[in-house]
């Protein structure tokens, strides 16, 4: 498998706080990597840096082997990197289809398209298809997203991200607000995305979820990557130990 996204020695400080302290990261094509760490460990900052939402003090990012600078979210989008933010970033007054294609509307054919008219039917059809692919429960494609449940909104945000990401998707705590069934749906859709060869970065506080789905688990602490485990070979105690730093003491004692 080829490495699609690799970061080395990323650093960024806010005043005296080193949010990222020479952090490394890497993910392969079609791989699910879980990014875990305690609050303030630098997960969100790392994701921001890798999606063009943060300027770095130092460090290098490679995309498919080439060094890249992600100076804006648009730059990341152009490379096929999408992110589902924790706050989902949907427009509550717009419908699922309108949200799905926001900023990427399908133009109507011919002169009308040139005048800025849109092909709403095509967008609706594709949205319905994408949501169905995720096993979604969103049916009212004309209702405003704001009137839908948290789970439905999450589905729309995820469907949108994977509709446009052909390389890497970042999911920032996608199941935090979801019930059991919806969580399972999200995890299933992550698997489906992975099977298409897209790399999925999952940020999560739920260890069982991480162990179920992640090929690799990267643990962040104090702004850097402190450990990487294979999902199949690790367990909750080991992960929590690495997150909190308890393992260091054990190693030091040994």
């Amino acid at each position: 498998m080829t490495t699609v996204l690799r970061a080395e020695g990323l650093s960024r400080s806010f005043g005296h706080v080193m949010a990222l302290n020479a952090a490394d990261f890497d993910i392969d094509q079609g791989e699910v990597v879980a990014l875990i760490g305690d609050n303030g460990a630098g997960k969100s900052t790392l994701v921001k840096a890798l999606t063009g939402n943060l300027q770095l003090d130092s460090g290098q990012i490679e995309f498919e082997g080439r060094p890249v600078t992600l100076e804006s979210p648009t730059a990341a989008t152009r490379l096929g990197i999408e992110v589902v933010h924790q706050d989902l970033a949907l427009a509550p007054h717009l419908s699922p289809a309108q949200n799905m294609f926001l900023g990427r509307e399908i133009s109507a054919k011919g002169v009308l398209g040139w005048l800025g008219f849109m092909d709403n039917k095509a967008m609706r059809d594709q949205t319905r298809q994408r949501l169905a692919d995720l096993g979604g429960t969103v049916r009212a494609l004309n209702s405003p997203v704001g009137s839908m449940s948290g789970g439905q909104r999450q589905q729309i945000a995820i469907a949108r991200a994977i509709a446009w990401a052909d390389k890497v998707v970042f999911l920032d705590e996608p199941t935090a607000a979801l019930g059991v069934v919806q969580t399972k749906n999200v995890l299933d859709s992550i698997k489906r995305v992975r099977d298409r060869g897209i790399a999925v970065v999952l940020i999560s506080h739920s260890m069982p979820e991480v162990l179920e789905i992640a090929d690799r688990v990267q643990v962040m602490r104090l702004g850097r990557r402190v450990a990487t485990y294979r999902g199949a070979d690790t367990n909750v105690e080991e992960l929590v130990g690495a997150m909190t730093g308890a393992l260091d003491f054990k190693e030091a004692a040994a």
Partner: protein, 355 residues
């Protein structure tokens, strides 16, 4: 609307996504509810006022009085949907009309060239204020309320400076003739011009990418930014267009009255904003319609006309419009809060079909 009809619409929405016909999308919106209010008001005055109210001449007069406000309302609808506000629009109209009238006056004569220069001058003057509003709001990040309060004062002040406080009469009679006498298919010209503008902007708002982004910015500006919409540029354009419409409104005003009214536009901004809000456009942004704005314009105008005809002191119009404004926003808020809690209306509709 009857319960049965509501049920039908709601079901169509839930089960069939292709229910996007104009009628069905309009149904259940604030605009339709307020249209009902308008119909009731018209019916009341038709009974109370008889033929004097329900006559072609009266409605022709009402539409004449609304033409300028409708053009301003088209821009204001865009502005308010982005969750902005433009208080300066009345002053921009005055400023543009002063510039335009002065230029036409200094050129003299009555040729097409003079009128064309007058129109261009007004549009450019309006565009300049719109640009300034847009720049300060979108790029300097000063709140729209403050910026347009400032330009409200500045544009009016400059209009006074330029005219020395004396109203300028329009010398080009072909312009005023157009405003007063020209008719197409029996309809006065100015309301027709306004209608064309409103329809064009309505289509732009509801059917084009530009309109879609306008809603998105008002709904969640950060979300719009993250998907790559150039939010600052878009806001800038919205205020610029509103300024241009202020300039067009100025020309229409000159055509209608043949003179500037420097002191006569102090409530224009609030009248336009009230119309937009009565029409169901959310002052918090993200929601609204051009159709609603037009209905919202007609309510005060019909009340005014109706009160005069049935012999009620027309000053009551202000009281009635104020009440309608507050009631409209209250009903809208309650309705939307209910929708946020899980669309009980839709549930009722479903239960209705089970019976």
């Amino acid at each position: 609307m009857t319960t049965a009809a509501t049920t039908k619409v709601e079901n169509a929405r839930d089960e069939d996504d292709e229910s996007g016909t104009l009628l069905q999308r309009l149904a259940g919106t604030q605009a339709v509810w307020i249209l009902g209010v308008l119909v009731v008001i018209i019916a009341f005055f038709s009974i109370a006022g008889g033929d004097r109210f329900l006559s072609a001449a009266n409605f022709s007069l009402i539409s004449q009085n609304l033409a300028v406000l409708a053009v301003l309302g088209a821009g204001m609808t865009f502005v308010i949907i982005t969750s902005g506000i433009d208080l300066s629009i009345g002053s921009v109209l005055v400023f543009s009309s002063v510039i335009s009238a002065k230029l036409m006056d200094s050129m003299g004569g009555d040729g097409a060239g003079v009128v064309l220069v007058g129109i261009l001058a007004a549009v450019v003057a309006g565009a300049a204020w719109g640009w300034l509003n847009g720049f300060l709001i979108a790029y300097a990040k000063i709140p729209a309320l403050i910026v347009t309060l400032g330009t409200l004062s500045a544009a009016l002040g400059l209009a006074y400076v330029l005219s020395k406080g004396i109203n300028i009469t329009v010398s080009a009679e072909s312009l005023t003739d157009f405003g007063i006498y020209t008719r197409f298919a029996g309809l006065p010209a100015l309301p027709l011009v306004a209608l064309v503008i409103v329809v064009i902007f309505g289509i732009a708002l509801h059917r084009t990418r530009f309109g879609r982004h306008t809603y998105a910015i008002g709904s969640n500006q950060e979300a719009a930014r993250r998907v790559g919409i150039r939010v600052d540029r878009h806001l800038m354009l919205v205020y610029l267009i509103t300024g241009v419409l202020g300039g067009i409104g100025a020309v229409m005003y000159l055509a209608q009255f043949g003179t500037t009214t420097i002191g006569g536009q102090s409530l224009t901004n609030l009248n336009v904003i009230a119309a937009v809000v009565i029409g169901g456009t959310s002052i918090f942004g993200g929601y609204g319609s051009m159709f609603g704005t037009i209905v919202g314009l007609f309510i005060p105008a019909i009340l005014q006309s109706g009160f005069v005809i049935i012999g009620v002191d027309p000053f009551w119009q202000g009281v009635a419009v104020g009440a309608v404004l507050i009631a409209a926003v209250y009903v809208d808020q309650t309705r939307r809060a209910a929708a946020q809690r899980g669309a009980p209306r839709a549930k009722q509709a479903k239960e209705g079909t089970k019976e």
